[in-house]
């Protein structure tokens, strides 16, 4: 899933100041699963904005809604009427959602209520961590299923580096050295010899270094 977190309320309050009515728009997939943009958070945030406006003597109505996924045009279009009646929309989806919204509603102010953090997993309720960098060329078959691009601070392909100490990365004692984890896992799998193969220089173009990425499937497209 894509993980996100809500921006600090002060920042949200500042960016939404003066818009009346303001629509707080949730996204019920990754954003909800990150407890940042589900209906529950929409209700809470809208209520907070109302109170902040009231205490600082500002006017302004705050509306609430949510769609299944803000990254799909059909879903966003379903709330066109509501959007039409608003000054601005505060989207609490990831950056992709916000941008699709901007495309669908050319004349509408759209504001991001969240920071998109990473592609990751739920470790347990309330704890998420990064797992994938979306590099466009998966190498997990060679690294025992653990990604050095997403999880090595230096994105080394032939690690570990000299900063690996007792299984931790030199940047912080909290961060596991993924290369240590890779070695441990290959040892358990009895495949340590795989590391003898040196990774060639990685082609970063599928990772977006060759410009904005786009994917087209001729067989599906209309």
């Amino acid at each position: 899933m894509i993980t996100l977190e809500q921006k600090k309320f002060q920042e949200i309050e500042k960016m939404t100041k003066g818009y009346n009515p303001l629509l707080v728009l949730g996204c019920e997939t990754c954003a909800a699963m990150s407890f940042a943009g589900g209906q529950q958070q929409v209700a809470e945030l809208a209520s907070a904005i109302r109170i902040a406006r009231k205490t600082s003597g500002q006017e302004g109505e705050v509306l609430e809604d949510a769609v299944a996924r803000q990254c799909e045009p059909e879903f966003v279009d379903l709330i066109a009427d509501k959007v039409g009646g608003c000054d601005a929309v505060l989207s609490i989806a990831c950056g992709a959602g916000v941008q699709l919204f901007a495309e669908r509603f050319q004349d509408k102010v759209i504001l991001p209520g969240c920071n998109t953090t990473f592609l990751g997993v739920t470790e347990e309720l309330g704890v998420w961590s990064e797992r994938c960098a979306g590099c466009g060329n998966c190498i997990l078959d060679k690294t025992a299923g653990l990604c050095p691009i997403a999880r090595c601070s230096k994105q080394l392909l032939n690690g570990p580096c000299g900063g690996s100490m007792n299984g931790k990365c030199e940047i912080s004692k909290e961060v596991d050295c993924v290369w240590q984890l890779i070695i441990d896992r290959l040892t358990r799998l009895n495949r340590l010899e795989m590391l003898e193969e040196i990774f060639p220089v990685k082609d970063w173009s599928p990772a977006g270094h060759g410009g904005p990425r786009k994917m087209v499937r001729e067989d599906l497209k209309s």
């Binding site: 019920e28 909800a32 949510a66 769609v67 309720l125």
Partner: protein
């Protein structure tokens, strides 16, 4: 997606209601007692039951047998709670239902036992003119002339009967239908329908030698009838009571009270098969009644025309008979006799139907009135209906009430010329079983103890043995209820399979399949509310303190608040069991606090806190119950963390986060004075800072 707010609700009756023959809304009144809304609790009971104070005392409470709590430790003391709710002074404030607009029809109700009274009550409410014909000089049937005063005092019965008769019911006592007045005469007198609730008052005979000719042999019905009169019958020194039902137990306990030195109950099967209520058997033994199980009487021996001894034989249990109970088989050579000077025969009763047997058909052997079905209750004579013990043989008060109520519906359709309504039973009455894992995870709370007169004092007279629960004990007991089917309702259309509910439920009730389809067992759920609060997309709501109810409590409270500024909304956990004196002390000591009572602090969401501020509150605090009264301590811990998050948010909003407090219940008093004073102080300071 996004289908508005309707949740997929499958309305199901809780086990207690399902097991009750008149489907009393047990869960509702238990909850109202927990909330200390006693008047409403009484009204809820009275709505379905015209004899609540009787049932609160002597009902056999099948609801308790079915109660889900019973699978955890012990069932809710439902009958005792009913008595508490109906005995209280608040019943004076209950607004009795008024009889409906007169239909002009006259109905005769024969017999004034619970069946007749219930039928008369409901028929009067439906607007029919009702006359009760009662053979005895007193009203109440077996409640009056069977059940002794130590279990059901006369004044209690009087009051209940008055309330019913006050609906405008005409009463004719001392009239035995079938004798002076035949059924056909009733129709000639203008009655359009007749309900026969004549009970079962004819004692079955022992059919053993000595029964008819010796002095000192009595039937239980006539003995108890005497017991229930001011002039009490004389009893022997050593009394044998034959039989194992409530009648036998009551005869034995009455004989003790009338001065018998030794009382023996002689019952042919074992204790397990004994039809009398378990509590009654225990009480009798406690008072000193001796039990001879697996014993049958063979002959009553006499001297000078009076009873002198009882000859018996021991039994062993053989194969189960038609009734499913194992039938007793005499053990050859085990005869014995013991000295007695009185024998009370209590081996069952049959209806006294001979007087009406020419006009309506009765069963061959047991003389029970034949009806066409349990919902129509039509006899073989058009316009004549019957129910209660007269149809079923000796049964229970609540079954008789149920029959009376069903008869009223059936008679009403008959009088309107409609075909009788066939109400189907609500469903299976077998309670589903909880898994052992859930039972283990459920916090146990001991059932309330009943307070009874000491046994020594009891046997001196007919004073009521059991006392009504005190307010605090009743509320505590009501708080044990597990709120069956008031829990999580999942809207599958909204669910995004985030698994939060699966992860947070303290009982492990929500489960998922590999496609992320969530199932929440509505029977097992105990309405703690955690999943509903944590679900990010609000796919779950709880019926007990639902989101809408919570918002309403806050809005209504704030709109009606008379609290002086600064107004502080205080969420109180009902499990804290605050009495009216606590609340009074709160009003006096902390006039700024607007109390909002909730079923568990765990139900308070950040959103609710914001709502309070939005409605104009200046401060909010949450007062938890004592840890040993909290059914879901982990969930309450979650609330504390949730409130830390709420505080950060409040800070960011420019409302000092310190205006939100969470506290546990102090040992004494309803909340710490310092906590409230501190809160008020901070609010005032913050207010000044802003205005500067």
């Amino acid at each position: 997606m996004m289908t508005g707010n309707e949740l997929s609700t499958e309305i199901k009756y809780p086990p207690c209601k399902l097991a009750c023959p008149i489907q009393t809304d047990v869960r509702e009144y238990v909850q109202l007692i927990a909330e200390r809304r006693f008047e409403e609790a009484f009204a809820t009971i009275r709505k379905q039951n015209p004899l609540p104070r009787v049932c609160g005392r002597i009902c056999t409470h099948p609801c308790e047998t079915a109660c889900k709590r019973g699978q955890v430790e012990e069932p809710i003391a439902i009958a005792a709670l009913k008595r508490f709710a109906s005995d209280g002074l608040w019943r004076d404030q209950y607004e009795a239902a008024l009889p409906g607009k007169s239909t002009g029809h006259k109905v005769a109700v024969v017999g004034s036992g619970p069946a007749g009274l219930a039928a008369a009550h409901d028929l009067a409410l439906l607007g029919h003119g009702v006359t009760i014909f009662e053979a005895l000089p007193v009203l109440g049937g077996m409640l009056r002339v069977g059940v002794p005063e130590y279990r059901l005092p006369n004044d209690v019965l009087d009051e209940e009967i008055h309330t019913i008769v006050d609906l405008g019911i005409e009463v004719k006592t001392g009239v035995r239908i079938g004798k002076e007045i035949k059924l056909t005469d009733l129709f000639e007198q203008g009655y359009k329908a007749v309900f026969m609730g004549i009970g079962a008052h004819r004692d079955r005979k022992l059919h053993i030698a000595g029964e008819d000719k010796l002095k000192g042999v009595v039937s239980a019905v006539s003995f108890l009838r005497g017991v229930n009169q001011a002039e009490k019958p004389r009893v022997g020194v050593r009394v044998a009571v034959i039989g194992g039902g409530n009648t036998a137990i009551d005869s034995a306990r009455s004989a003790l009270r009338l001065g018998a030195e030794g009382v023996h109950i002689v019952y042919r099967r074992s204790r397990e098969e004994m039809p009398a209520a378990k509590e009654e058997i225990e009480e009798a033994a406690h008072e000193g009644v001796q039990m001879s199980y697996l014993t049958s009487p063979l002959e009553i021996l006499g001297r000078d025309g009076k009873v002198s001894a009882l000859k018996c034989i021991k039994n062993e249990l053989g194969d189960p008979d038609d009734s499913g109970r194992r039938s007793p088989k005499p053990v050859p050579g085990s005869e014995f006799s013991f000295d007695v000077d009185m024998v009370i025969a209590a081996i069952g009763q049959a209806p006294d139907s001979s007087l009406v047997a020419e006009e309506i058909e009765v069963t061959e052997r047991r003389k029970r009135i034949i009806v066409d079905g349990p919902y129509t209750l039509v006899t073989t004579q058009p316009g004549v209906f019957a129910g209660g013990d007269a149809v079923t043989g000796p049964a229970t008060v609540v079954e008789a009430i149920s029959a009376g109520k069903r008869a009223a519906i059936s008679i009403d359709s008959y009088l309107r010329g409609e075909s009788p309504a066939t109400v189907e039973s609500a469903g299976p009455t077998e309670t589903e079983r909880l898994s052992s894992v859930i039972i283990e995870k459920t916090t146990k709370f001991e059932r309330c103890l009943k307070t009874s007169l000491p046994a020594d004092n009891r046997v001196k007279g007919f004073d009521e043995v059991e006392a009504v629960l005190s307010e605090d004990v009743a509320v505590k007991e009501a708080l044990r209820c597990l709120h069956c089917f008031l829990g999580a309702r999942l809207d599958k259309e909204k669910c995004i399979s985030c698994l939060t509910c699966v992860r947070v439920c303290p009982l492990g009730i929500p489960t998922t399949n590999k496609m992320g389809e969530i199932t929440i067992d509505p029977f097992a759920c105990q309405a703690c509310g955690t999943c509903a609060l944590e679900c990010p997309v609000r796919a779950i709501d709880i019926s007990l303190d639902s989101r809408a109810q919570m918002a309403q409590k806050i809005e209504k409270g704030m709109a009606e608040s008379h609290q002086p500024d600064p107004v502080i909304v205080g969420f109180f956990d009902l499990h804290g069991n605050f009495g009216s004196s606590d609340m009074e002390r709160l009003r006096q000591g902390h006039p700024n606090v607007l109390p909002v009572m909730v079923f568990g602090l765990r139900r308070v969401d950040t959103f609710d806190v914001l709502k309070a501020f939005e409605c104009g509150a200046d401060g909010v605090f949450l007062a938890g119950c004592a840890p040993d009264t909290d059914p879901f301590p982990e969930a309450t811990d979650r609330v504390k963390r949730r409130m830390a998050h709420a505080r950060t948010l409040l800070d960011a909003l420019g409302i000092d986060g310190a205006r939100l407090e969470v506290c546990d219940m102090p040992e004494q008093g309803i909340v710490d004075k310092e906590l409230i004073d501190g809160l008020i102080q901070r609010i005032k300071e913050a207010g000044q800072a802003r205005s500067e």
